[in-house]
Amino acid sequence: MATFTVNGKDVTLEVPDDTPLLWALRDDLRLTGTKFGCGIAQCGACTVMVDGMPRRSCVTPIGTLDGASVETIEGIEGPEVEAVQAAWVGIDVPQCGWCQSGQVMSAVGLLRMNPAPTDEDIDNAMAGNVCRCATYVRIRQAIHDAADMLEG
């Protein structure tokens, strides 16, 4: 049985080790900000941070997370998070909103590694996150805006 932390709290779940982290977060911990879109790591709606790096929770069995630190949209913190969310709201990125927790996670992951990304850096970091509403023009702009906020 895997023991790990979620948003800083110790978690031990009485569910099989092959349970995808996505469903453990949603069904067992009621952290519903992380979304289901495909179940095969093709859309990125389920993206969370595992030990500080974006990870597709739909294909991450909890048995592989012993000792890991998981952050979800409900608990993730830091200047990059604040900047990304402020930028997202600032230019109204979301439409339906279903993919946006995952988009925010990937954007935060990018800005933590690369505080001044180019369009190409953004494409490389964000291409795994599908937005069916195609809010991509604004996602790209918001990441630049967030980078500017962090620099300023």
């Binding site: 569910v15 099989p16 349970t19 995808p20 469903w23 453990a24 949603r26 069904d27 067992d28 009621r30 519903t32 900000g33 992380t34 979304k35 289901f36 879109g37 495909c38 179940g39 095969i40 093709q42 859309c43 709606a45 979800t72 949209i73 409900e74 969310q85 997202w88 709201v89 109204d92 990125v93 979301p94 439409q95 339906c96 909103g97 279903w98 993919c99 946006q100 927790s101 925010v104 953004i122 494409d123 490389n124 964000m126 291409a127 996150n129 599908v130 937005c131 069916r132 509403c133 195609a134 809010t135 991509y136 023009v137 604004r138 996602i139 790209r140």
Partner: protein, 718 residues
């Protein structure tokens, strides 16, 4: 609405005297309430009508009769109310209206529902009057309190003033409730608008950026089980027999039941339900199934296109004109099945207790789904409550005249045979194999060009299923959603025939973002572009020359987009090529010019210029967003998407690995211009989508010599 509920409501809001019907109180769990704050009705609130509530804490809540799935009605309808009330934008809140086909009907449909890009158009006067009535009553209350003449009072940013006294809406709420409700409240002259016409931040952006927005799948009830259903891979197949022994061995699986939609697996968690479904063994009966492949269906449609169909539009004598023409051009265009693939797959939650049911669902026709649950479970309508939730996209998929999700969740509850709560989750595989597709369509086109280069004849024969047949919207005869856009073109063609050959398949069709325009815009705008090219004419000027006198709005968007793109007739510049398309849908007029290059045999779209006339631009921010998104949605589809049936009818695309979504690195830059207008507003959710595919195809022809006769550009196995 029930008598009991209304009594409860009135009891909870003692002291109010309200002369008009009020909605039942929205539940705190509704998507909007969770997204936008606590929606309970406080003591001393003022609710002049079914759409507006002013609370003593000075918040104004708008009950939005349209579902919010990204297209912006929460923000848009709240803007209309705020404008007429002279409210402060920061005091506005929005909640989903409950299901009530009378109180919250779409004035374009006659029942409650969202679709056809009608939300703003049908709400335009209704919501303004709702706001104006509220304002008049607040002003009357202030005048009474101060002994002033109501006509001399001013209202600004949610505060009423007579020069020496002032009071906020919240302070006046209780007294306003005692005023007479104006029957025909006067609305503003457009020149007085201060909110309408300016960029307005959306009310739901924050909750959709921090994970707190509540969707159907996020609803959890005590003791709730998750249910997934094994469905056939061949559309229309039914369960012959099944073996659930292995499924029932899976820890967490509590039951397996046959329901009309397939075999339902009940479990204490989603993971267990999915594992249980994997372990099921099902034999299918293909008697009523579509067992032909897509290729066989296309062949049958092409054959059908050889014989005339129902006349949809006729001008002059197209056959004679084409026979006498100097040049005759012919084309056959093929369009595949498409899935809507909203990123939140279909889902629903139902709780059944002591003969009462409560539903949570992203229902586009909430009355239909509520009715389905009522009927399947044999309940009284008064005992069924529908919570319309935020939905993670729809693009038409949740607009269900058959209410098949309502039927399915109710069938699950019925088969359980007890009280309880169940969440139905469709996986992506269920979504892509679950039919309700944009129907396969064939256009057979013929055109004739005279020696002087003029287009003398035009024929467009459309072959596809009827989407409307069998729905409450079916008016019999020719179904306009099958060929809308092929008819009523803005071009003056002296001899024209559009006809429709109806096909029937066991594969349920459905409206998909822009409906018939998904294929008619492509067929007409590519074919026209080819005729203009053969006639040696410029694609922009050639179109302008052809426009009917009354097509002023088409003309304006085309001229505007040409100006934006700096169009000078150059179709190819270096490795870049340019293409144009013009198409009206849902009374909004859109022209696009694209810049593309050849990226390994597929178009890479660098830039899209778009001009739109959608009447008065209520919120340019939302309009631009819908155009950007509509272009991305249409582009990804044109490049990559087809749902194909293989040998024996088996659906071949199960998930996003084979039904590929547009990604950020493929998204073009988009520049949008909105034409100034004083016409009533029209829709923006769909009209951005139709022109992108033909514009890209026209640019592609400039680059490579041909436009695809069959979509998508990247066809499976090509």
């Amino acid at each position: 609405m029930t008598v009991q509920t209304r009594r409860q409501f009135l009891a909870a809001s003692a002291g109010l005297v309200i002369g008009v019907a009020l909605p039942i109180r929205a539940r705190a769990q509704s998507g909007a309430a969770a997204a936008l704050g606590d929606g309970t009705l406080a003591e001393g609130s003022f609710a002049p009508n079914a759409f507006v509530r002013v609370a003593p804490d000075n918040t104004i809540t708008v009950f939005c009769k349209h579902i919010e799935f990204g297209q912006g009605p929460y923000t848009g309808l709240a803007t209309l109310v705020a404008e007429e009330m002279d409210a402060d934008w920061s005091q506005m809140r929005v909640e989903a209206a409950p299901a009530d086909d009378e109180l919250y009907k779409n004035l374009a449909f006659g029942i409650q529902g969202t679709g056809g890009s009608t939300a703003m158009a049908n709400s335009w006067m209704q919501m303004r009057q709702a706001g104006a009535a509220a304002r008049a009553m607040l002003v009357a209350a202030a005048a009474e309190r101060w002994g002033s003449d109501a006509a001399t009072l001013t209202v600004s940013a949610g505060t009423v003033s007579d020069g020496s006294n002032s009071a906020t809406f919240g302070e006046l709420a209780e007294a306003a409730a005692a005023q007479d409700v104006p029957v025909e409240p006067a609305v503003k002259n457009p020149s007085e608008f201060t909110l309408i016409g300016t960029d307005r931040p959306k009310v739901d952006s924050r909750s959709k950026s921090d994970g707190t927005a509540m969707f159907t799948m996020d609803v959890y009830r005590d003791g709730m089980e998750t249910v997934v259903v094994r469905r056939p891979r061949v559309i229309g197949a039914t369960v012959a027999s099944f073996d659930d022994a292995a499924a029932l061995e899976v820890p967490g699986v509590t039951a397996v039941r046959q329901i009309p939609q397939g075999v339902a697996v009940y479990a204490t968690s989603t993971a267990a339900a999915l594992k249980g479904r994997e372990a099921l063994s099902v034999e299918w009966d293909y008697t009523d199934a579509e067992t032909r492949s897509s290729e066989e269906i296309f062949a049958a449609f092409s054959e059908a296109a050889r014989s005339p169909g129902l006349e949809a539009e006729k001008v002059g004598d197209s056959a004679g004109a084409i026979a006498a023409a100097e040049t005759v051009h012919e084309a056959e265009f093929l369009f595949p099945f498409l899935a809507h693939a909203p990123l939140e797959p279909l889902d629903a939650v139902l709780e059944l207790k002591d003969g009462k049911a409560e539903i949570w669902m992203g229902a586009q026709f909430p009355g239909a789904d509520k009715g389905a649950v009522t009927q399947v479970l044999g309940l009284e309508p008064a005992d069924v409550t529908m919570n319309v939730m935020l939905a993670g996209g729809s693009f038409g998929r949740r607009a269900q005249p058959t209410a098949h999700i309502g039927v399915e969740i109710a069938s699950i509850a019925k088969a359980a045979g007890r009280d309880g709560a169940w969440k139905l989750v469709w996986t992506r595989e269920d979504d892509l194999t679950g039919a309700y597709y944009r129907p396969i369509t064939v256009h057979r086109m013929r055109g004739g060009i005279a020696a002087d280069g003029s287009i003398v004849g035009w024929e467009d024969r459309v072959v596809n299923q009827s989407i409307m047949a069998g729905t409450p919207f079916d008016q019999g005869g020719a179904d306009p959603t099958s060929f809308e856009g092929s008819t009523n073109m803005p071009y003056a063609l002296p001899n024209l025939t559009v006809d429709w050959v109806k096909q029937e398949l066991p594969v349920a069709p459905l409206w998909w973002r822009s409906v018939g325009h998904t294929h008619t815009a492509y067929a007409t705008e590519v074919f026209l572009d080819e005729l203009l090219e053969k006639a040696g004419k410029d694609p922009v000027q050639g179109r302008l020359d052809l426009l009917k006198d009354e097509a002023g709005r088409d003309r304006a968007v085309l001229e505007r987009v040409a100006e934006m793109a700096g169009w000078d007739g150059t179709k190819v510049r270096g490795d870049r090529a340019y293409g144009v398309a013009l198409h009206e849908s849902f009374q909004s007029y859109v022209a696009q010019i694209v810049e593309i290059s050849d990226a390994g045999g597929l178009p890479r779209v660098h830039k899209v210029w778009c001009a739109i006339d959608c009447g008065i631009a209520v919120n340019p921010n939302v309009i631009r967003a819908q155009i950007e998104g509509g272009i991305g949605y249409g582009l990804g589809t044109a490049l990559y998407n087809e749902l194909t049936l293989g040998e024996g009818g088996e659906v071949q695309q199960l998930n996003f690995d084979t039904y590929r979504m547009l990604r950020i690195n493929e998204m073009p830059e988009v520049e949008v211009a909105i034409i100034d207008s004083d016409a009533d507003p029209t829709g923006v959710g769909e009209p951005g989508t139709p022109p992108i595919a033909p514009a890209v195809a026209n640019a592609w022809r400039a680059l490579t010599g041909s436009s695809p006769r069959r979509l998508p550009f990247a066809r499976a196995g090509v």
